[in-house]
């Protein structure tokens, strides 16, 4: 298999010591296994995803992404931009599309970028890591890499919102995307059929400012996973992962529940299935330990 190279946009939360550094770690392991090279966009900045609109207006906000794309086009010329964070992917792709639609906006953002000697050509596809896995690598290749099938694991594939809407993965439905289940199956685990909270919003960016509203939604996601006797939830989205994982104690306190549902990334499942250690798979960074997966990783 030819080596694949991408221009990588990690986003703030993937940085060392940040909330989804575990995703970053596991993605790195996954890419090693799949012979994928991720070239970080040099000196990338925050995309202001999720809540940035409240402070920044249209142009300043979109210009953040414009800078990233411009840097990528300058330094990682010809490489598709790939993001692992759903919100980063969405914000960047949205910005690119808006610049395509609106010449005025494009001109203005270039005027701003010129202040630092940058120029946006806006010719670069903005892709999600999942797209790379499905479209460029394929289930068959992934399946072929499995050395340690995740047998006996029942996993609820929680896709969430922003990986899924408004762009989603080509060929998948907004209401019932199947790729996560297919991936789980490819890795030898048992996907929860008809997981009815598959695309339920977890409250996203309101987790901080409207915690109760957000946690009510998270509760349904976890409950449904328990109802389907899932061992864990898997998600492609760092916002979802964190929200669903870390507030379980608070939900337990408020609702007198006993939630302790591990929430992992697809990349972590892949790492374990590919035969890598718990540490390489960043399982040590779980707030709620994914015991069954760790056990497998030790085999």
């Amino acid at each position: 298999m030819a080596k694949k190279e991408y221009s990588f946009y990690p986003g703030c939360s993937s940085q060392q010591g940040a909330s989804s550094s575990n995703m970053q770690k596991s993605v790195e392991t996954m890419c090693e296994e799949l012979d994928v090279t991720l070239n970080q966009i040099p000196d990338w900045n925050c995309c202001a995803a999720s809540i940035g609109y409240g402070g920044g207006g249209e142009l300043p906000r979109l210009t953040l992404s414009a800078r990233n794309i411009a840097l990528s086009e300058q330094h990682n010329t010809g490489q598709d931009i790939v993001a692992t964070c759903a919100a980063c992917w969405l914000a960047t792709r949205e910005a690119a599309e808006r610049f395509h639609e609106d010449d005025g906006l494009m001109a203005e953002t270039n005027q701003a970028l010129a202040e630092a000697g940058l120029k946006l050509k806006n010719e670069t596809p903005i892709r999600h890591m999942v797209e790379v896995l499905i479209e460029d690598i394929g289930y068959d290749t992934i399946g072929g890499k499995v050395q340690r099938p995740l047998e006996g694991l029942k996993i609820a594939g929680y896709v969430g919102c922003q990986t899924n809407r408004p762009f989603g993965i080509a060929g998948e439905s907004f209401e019932n995307p199947m790729y996560l289940d297919k991936l789980v199956e490819t890795l030898g685990a048992d996907p929860v059929k008809n997981y009815d909270k598959k695309v339920q919003c977890c409250g996203g960016a309101l987790a901080f400012s409207e915690p109760e509203k957000s946690q009510d939604m998270i509760k349904t996601i976890i409950e449904s996973a328990y109802d389907s006797s899932a061992d864990m939830i898997v998600t492609p989205c760092p916002v979802c992962q964190m929200n669903v994982e870390i507030y379980q104690d608070q939900i337990n306190q408020r609702h007198n529940t006993k939630f302790k549902m591990p929430v992992v990334y697809y990349s972590q499942l892949m790492d374990v299935a590919f035969g890598r250690s718990a540490k390489d798979s960043a399982l040590d960074q779980q707030v709620i330990k994914a015991g069954k997966l760790e056990a497998l990783a030790k085999k």
Partner: protein
């Protein structure tokens, strides 16, 4: 009431819809709503909205400027994009809600202490300071946004979560001192300054 707000009222006396078209991100879509209500029904936080999106669109067309801009409804948007994906008319509802929220904030019409608005403001400032978000500082400023006393309480409430994150190395105390940022900070800040200027000019022009 801000000066800009007064100017806008003057300028668009007749038509709030036209004001929205000219000044709100994706505002030109508002007129295309056909009042099917699928957005309201699709919103995961729907019951928290005093005025769901389709009503806001109707209110805009009915000229209910004050009621719309001072509403906290659009601040309830979780950016889940359900409404966009289902809207039969293709309205970018999420963006319009964001746009309205931002516009209300620009005009100084947001209800006092609207938590999302305040958090958003902090987030924006935080990311602009160094070009990347500092999660730790953002979290702390959030906890302390209602004063020191409240902040300590919130911090205590959130302490277990914080500890969990620290233990799993998903939060770093070092972030409190410096932390991540872009290297070309001055270039970054020049770009953002210019972007702000261009946007402000557009809005000012519209209000005159």
């Amino acid at each position: 009431m801000t000066e800009l707000n007064t100017a806008m009222i003057e300028q668009y006396r007749n038509s709030f819809l036209q004001e929205v078209e000219a000044n709100v991100e994706e505002g030109e879509w508002v007129k295309m709503c056909m009042q099917c209500g699928v957005c309201a029904g699709s919103c995961p936080l729907g019951n928290a909205w005093e005025h769901p999106p389709q009503e806001i669109f109707m209110m805009i067309r009915a000229g209910k400027r004050e009621a719309v801009l001072s509403s906290d409804s659009m601040w309830m948007c979780t950016s889940c994009y359900n409404c966009i994906s289902r809207c039969p008319r293709g309205l970018p509802i999420t963006h319009i809600m964001h746009g309205l929220a931002h516009y209300a904030q620009r005009l100084g019409l947001v209800p006092k202490n609207q938590p999302t608005q305040r958090f958003a403001q902090m987030f924006w400032q935080n990311l602009n300071k160094k070009g990347r978000v500092n999660e730790l500082k953002l979290g702390l400023s959030l906890y302390f946004m209602n004063g020191f006393g409240e902040g300590v309480k919130t911090s205590l409430k959130m302490k277990d979560i914080g500890l969990g994150m620290l233990k799993t190395k998903r939060m770093a105390v070092t972030e409190a001192f410096g932390g991540h940022g872009v290297k070309d900070l001055s270039g970054f800040q020049k770009i953002m300054k210019k972007a702000h200027e261009l946007e402000d000019a557009r809005i000012q022009k519209s209000g005159n």
